[in-house]
């Protein structure tokens, strides 16, 4: 595209009052680029002006200096034009009052001593905007040749069936894969179900049968029982799926990556590449490589993972004090439900009636008051439900619930209230210390109860509130033919639940196109699972339709760009394949990455990782950001007797950049010597930008992004964590150059922590000022 540039400076919103507009206009003029100012650019007249220039003068590349790109993006959106927004409002004038950053008097101008920090900041930002647009192009969508709009649902329990119905209602064809011989899952194995509608007070008969019938009525829903997924290959829009019978071995079973201990020889030395391939092939003997597509495989557009849960087996020593495994009348809630579903509640030991039952919600012992693993509000509710069974079966029955946490969220509180009213149900908080034999019954002892220090209760049976273990604990389930492995990676921080962010992105797993719902995400009631299924079905549909338009699904929904690789220079280092948080890249046997654009979330982590710097996006690449860095003016002693230091801040555009804007809106002030550049994710920061900035004479560089670690907030899961590792490495390199490693830092900020911005920025600036200027300045 032949670019015709135009710079437009808005003087409204206080910009014109603070800055020397004429001086700003001088920047593009010097480059021979046309520039116009307007007092109210986002107003009707202002936009007309822009449209007129586009139409009459053929301007197609606009640098609009005014408000932040986070506002008025719809106003300044012109078809076929590249638009860059220079943030003079939030990050220049609103955050830097003239009272602290005074303008120059007539005498001070050009005296070689004084300078106007604010004007310098604004001029740099305009230069950076101009440099950027020169290096970027309008993106074009990446389209698949053919696209399948079918949805694969893994799991035929209440969640899977509900998701299938929702998707079918929206007009999509669905296939449900169920490993058992019939649909229904755990929801079909219960006596009664928790209330699912107003007034949420009493138990209802299970609804699963009705749901199965409802699903059967849709011609678009195909059910495959006795089936599991052997492999899912390809990418959203064209997943090639091989199904098989449980236990069967096929050549399209997915190969597994080598476990770490097999990657070394007997002396612990790492194997070389050839040997590695040999071991790998041996390890996966009889299985086709991930890049080989099953010619008989079925095509699907997206996958809903509703594989559900299995009851926790409560193995090991941790539960011996509760008599579990030793006393036959101590059972799990699941076993109790099985007994209840069969008929009256009787004791496993002798078949006698169990009229006094103790329900234990937390294993107790020591200071730990946590519940059993993989529990949640549903296990509290199930205890209430099962207590009711005891009362249903025996009018003189007694049910006791010992809990540390009684969780009855939402309207389930009504259920709790109604159960509480039952004269024969007794609840108390307390630490259960032991369950022991007492005659032909049991005796339960608890401490710190609401009734007193120590109490004992006689019981015929004891029920432990064991958790609902997600299927992903035992098995990858999805069996993806991805180079990074068949399941979710580093999933231990989610206790193996299929998740990618506990708070912000439900349904979204670490793999694009795979949407989790129900108890595979966390323990849930049937009611919650049904609602969850709707969410995942909508996500699957969004994915298919985004792929259909060649745009990203999430979190950069609608983004048309995708990473481009200049393969001629690829050294097959595999860094991009390994570091991509979403497993979007598969390398071939030589190690050359194979992009899968519809798996990609456009985070740019691969671009940050590539040592050859051959990965980039149409509107975001090594060169575009590198040129912005180079456009920053670094004054030296040649310019002023005491030149200001210069800092670069690379800020994550998801959280940190908005936080900066909000700081400006709240008139919070910070150093005017820092130049901020928004990046897609800290993971996309390539160290070359930092090296360039330092060699250019900049004095300090910091990254500002999301929290990383177990409770990360990174929108791209691993971006900020990878950046942290890279920054640590760069620190080592700096030391070898006799540069203080403190000059490069990374800080974490959440979107609501805008009030911390001034402190973060100023502390860093002051620290570097103490170190003194970059010794390479001026070279």
């Amino acid at each position: 595209m032949d670019k015709k540039y135009g710079v437009y400076i808005c003087t409204g919103c206080g910009i014109g009052d603070v800055l020397d507009t004429e001086g700003l206009c001088g920047v593009p003029k010097e480059e021979g680029i046309g520039v116009k100012t307007h007092p109210f650019l986002c107003g009707k007249e202002g936009v007309e002006l822009l449209k007129k220039d586009i139409a009459d003068d053929g301007i197609n590349t606009l640098i609009i200096a005014g408000c932040s790109r986070r506002v008025n993006f719809d106003v300044f959106n012109f078809a076929g034009c590249i638009v860059d927004r220079v943030n003079l409002r939030e990050q220049v004038v609103w955050s830097h009052p003239r009272s602290e950053f005074p303008a120059l008097t007539e005498e001070q101008k050009d005296d070689g001593e004084h300078f106007d920090r604010l004007q310098m900041l604004a001029e740099d930002y305009i230069k950076m905007g101009m440099a950027k647009v020169e290096k970027i192009d309008l993106p074009e969508p990446s389209m698949l040749e053919t696209i399948s709009k079918r949805i694969l649902v893994i799991g035929g329990g209440i969640t899977g069936i509900s998701a299938a119905i929702d998707a079918a209602k929206a007009g999509y064809d669905v296939t449900i894969v169920e490993k058992e011989a019939s649909l229904g899952g755990n929801a079909a194995k219960i006596r009664k179900q928790l209330p699912n509608e107003d007034p949420f007070e009493s138990l209802i008969p299970p609804i699963i049968e009705a749901k199965i019938k409802e699903a059967e009525a849709y011609s678009g829903i195909e059910v495959k029982t006795n089936s599991i997924v052997a492999r899912i290959a390809g990418q959203p829009g064209e997943f090639t799926v091989t199904l098989k019978k449980p236990g069967e071995a096929t050549e399209f079973d997915v190969p597994y990556p080598l476990p770490d201990e097999m990657k070394v020889d007997e002396n612990g030395k790492e194997l070389d590449v050839e040997k590695l391939i040999e071991v790998y092939n041996e390890y996966n003997k009889g299985k086709k490589d991930i890049l080989t597509l099953d010619p008989d495989g079925e095509l699907f557009g997206a996958v809903i993972l509703a594989a559900g849960w299995r009851p926790d087996k409560l193995e090991g020593k941790a539960f011996t004090h509760l008599g579990f495994g030793k006393l036959p009348d101590v059972v799990t809630n699941y076993q109790f439900e099985e007994i209840a579903a069969k008929g009256k509640i009787t004791r496993p030991s002798d078949g006698n009636e169990a009229k006094s039952v103790v329900f234990i919600q937390s294993p107790g012992k020591g200071d730990d008051d946590s519940d059993f693993d993989y529990t949640g509000s549903v296990t509290s509710l199930v205890a209430l439900k099962q207590a009711q069974y005891v009362r249903e079966d025996y009018p003189e029955g007694k049910a006791y619930i010992f809990y540390q946490h009684m969780r009855t969220p939402g309207l389930q509180e009504n259920f709790y209230k109604s159960i509480q009213q039952d004269e024969g149900i007794f609840l108390t908080k307390g630490d259960v210390i032991s369950v022991a034999k007492n005659g032909d019954g049991l005796i339960v002892e608890a401490d710190n109860t609401l009734l007193g220090e120590k109490i004992q209760v006689k019981a015929d049976m004891v029920v432990l509130a064991a958790g609902m273990v997600p299927a992903t604990v035992d098995d990858p389930v999805i069996n993806l033919a991805y180079r990074q492995g068949p399941g979710f990676r580093d999933n231990a921080i989610f206790n193996e639940y299929a998740d990618s962010n506990f708070i912000c992105f439900p349904y979204e797993t670490q793999r694009t196109g795979i949407y989790a719902a129900g108890c595979i995400r966390r323990s849930m009631t049937i009611e919650e699972s049904i609602e969850d299924a709707t969410g995942a079905a909508l996500k699957a549909i969004q994915c298919i339709e985004s792929v259909n338009r060649g745009v990203a699904v999430h979190p950069r929904s609608g983004d048309m760009t995708f990473p481009d690789f200049f393969f001629q220079r690829c050294t097959q280092c595999k860094r991009c394949t390994e570091e991509c948080p979403f497993g979007a890249l598969d390398d071939d046997e030589k190690g050359t990455p194979k992009p899968n654009p519809t798996r990609c979330r456009r985070c740019g982590t691969c671009m940050g990782a590539c040592p050859e710097r051959i990965i980039g996006f149409a509107d975001y690449n090594i060169d575009s950001i590198g040129s912005m860095v180079k456009a920053i003016g670094v004054p030296s002693e040649d310019d002023y007797s005491e030149p200001p230091l210069r800092f670069l801040g690379l800020v994550c555009e998801n959280d940190a950049y908005p936080a900066l804007d909000i700081a400006g809106m709240n008139k919070l002030t910070y150093s005017a010597d820092v130049r901020f550049i928004p990046v897609r994710c800290l993971g996309s920061v390539n160290v070359i930008w930092i090296k360039d900035a330092l060699s250019q004479g900049m004095d300090g560089i910091f990254l500002l992004g999301c929290k990383h670690g177990d409770d990360y907030q990174c929108h791209f899961v691993k971006g900020s964590e990878l950046a942290d590792i890279r920054m640590k490495k760069i620190g080592e390199a700096l030391t070898s150059l006799a540069l203080e490693e403190e000059r490069v830092a990374q800080f974490q900020v959440a979107i609501d922590e805008y009030d911390k911005i001034p402190e973060i920025v100023n502390t860093f600036v002051e620290m570097v000022e103490k170190l003194g200027p970059n010794p390479f300045k001026g070279f």
Binding site: E396, K398, Y416, K417, Q420, Q421, D422, E423, G424, F426, T428, K429, E445, L450, L451, G452, E453, K454, I455, Q456, V457, K458
Partner: protein, 376 residues
């Protein structure tokens, strides 16, 4: 050890407390708001939350012998603040009723007092006794005549005393038996739950405790600590003092009659008569106020027991005063009839005192004395 902490819910107990006006007890979810707002509860092991959970678990032994249920003055602050509508104040009231019938023997009388179906029998009882004894002894004269109305001509003072002196003794004995068990239970419970620093119960100390709580009781200072049922304090105070007044008057009458052989009715100028009249009027106003307060409080449960007692007290005062007024007005027939009814009320008061809610005056006093003694 094993026995002490073994808890066995008593479903019957729960049902009974529910029937006595504690039907909300299972609503409690142990937030402890009530214990925090209660103006009377001490900081150490405060009530009424622990009573609420003990009640919902049907732990009868923990409750009937607890002094805390008596320390509560049913001010209702907790009931107003409880987020669950569990009405702890009312539940404690129901538990108190239960405790009274638990300690008063023989139990069937307690049951009868609490059973509306038994009311006709209870009403008939004094009538039958009066008539039978009156006829046998000839001390009941349905044609008293004379130009002055003298009630003892109709219902001889000998007959009155023949009936009421043993009745008073009965009340004392029933209370005595109940209190003995109550005090022991209360001490055991307090030691078990760490509500006292005394290991062994000493009667001397308990009596000293009794003397030190008397000013508190006379001033009704516990009542005025409450917010919610403030207006109740006045009514209660009036009824309370009028009973004391009438108690004194009755004793004077008794002494004067037997020692000085002087027969009533006294002149209206006599200070004893003043006390009697003032007390009578206070009793009527006080009990009427109580009834009005009860009716105004729709959120507070009023059980049959409550009504029985309120009407008994009001009737006692009203028939007493009306008897006197009709006597002064010279309406002989009516006055004698009213006197008869008045004596029926007095009969009920005496015989059922240890079984009815009125027994609280004894139990609460003793519990407060124990609390004082045991450093609650």
């Amino acid at each position: 050890m094993a026995d002490k902490c073994l808890v066995e819910p008593n479903l019957e107990f729960i049902k009974e407390v529910v029937g006595l006006g504690g039907d909300t007890l299972k609503k409690c979810f142990q937030c402890a708001t009530c214990s925090v707002v209660c103006p009377i509860a001490p900081d150490n092991k405060p009530f009424p939350r622990k009573e609420m959970i003990a009640a919902s678990w049907g732990l009868k032994d923990k409750l009937v012998g607890s002094m805390d249920i008596w320390l509560c003055h049913n001010c209702g602050d907790c009931t107003t603040m409880c987020p669950r509508g569990a009405k702890p104040g009312d539940v404690l009231g129901a538990i108190r009723s239960y405790a009274i019938s638990e300690y008063a023997v023989p139990k069937f009388i307690g049951k009868a007092v609490n059973d509306p179906k038994k009311l006709p029998v209870l009403l008939g009882l004094p009538v039958v006794i009066f008539l039978v004894l009156g006829f046998i002894t000839g001390l009941l004269d349905f044609t008293p005549g004379g130009d002055k109305i003298v009630h003892s001509n109709f219902f001889s003072s000998w007959l009155v005393d023949m009936i009421f002196v043993p009745l008073a003794a009965w009340a004392v004995v029933v209370f005595g038996i109940g209190l003995k068990r109550f005090v022991n239970d209360m001490h055991e419970n307090a030691v078990l739950e760490g509500k006292t620093d005394k290991k062994k119960l000493e009667i001397g100390g308990l009596i000293r405790g009794l003397f030190s709580v008397i000013p508190t009781i006379l001033k009704h200072s516990k009542f005025s600590e409450c917010d919610e049922n403030k207006e109740r304090a006045t009514a209660h105070l009036m009824v309370f003092y009028s009973f004391i007044g009438l108690f004194i008057v009755t004793n004077i009458f008794f002494v004067v009659l037997y020692v000085f052989q002087i027969h009533g009715p006294y002149s209206q100028m006599n200070p004893v008569k003043w006390l009697a009249n003032v007390s009578g009027i206070a009793l009527i106003i006080g009990s009427a106020l109580m009834i009005k307060n009860r009716m105004g409080k729709t959120d507070q449960v009023t059980s049959y027991k409550d009504w029985y007692l309120l009407i008994l007290v009001l009737g006692l005062g009203a028939t007493g005063m009306l008897t006197e007024m009709t006597r002064l007005a010279g309406i002989a027939g009516l006055s004698y009839a009213l006197y008869f009814i008045h004596l029926m009320f007095v009969f009920h008061l005496f015989i059922f005192l240890p079984f009815s809610k009125l027994a609280h005056l004894v139990y609460r006093t003793v519990a407060m004395a124990y609390g004082e003694y045991g450093n609650r």
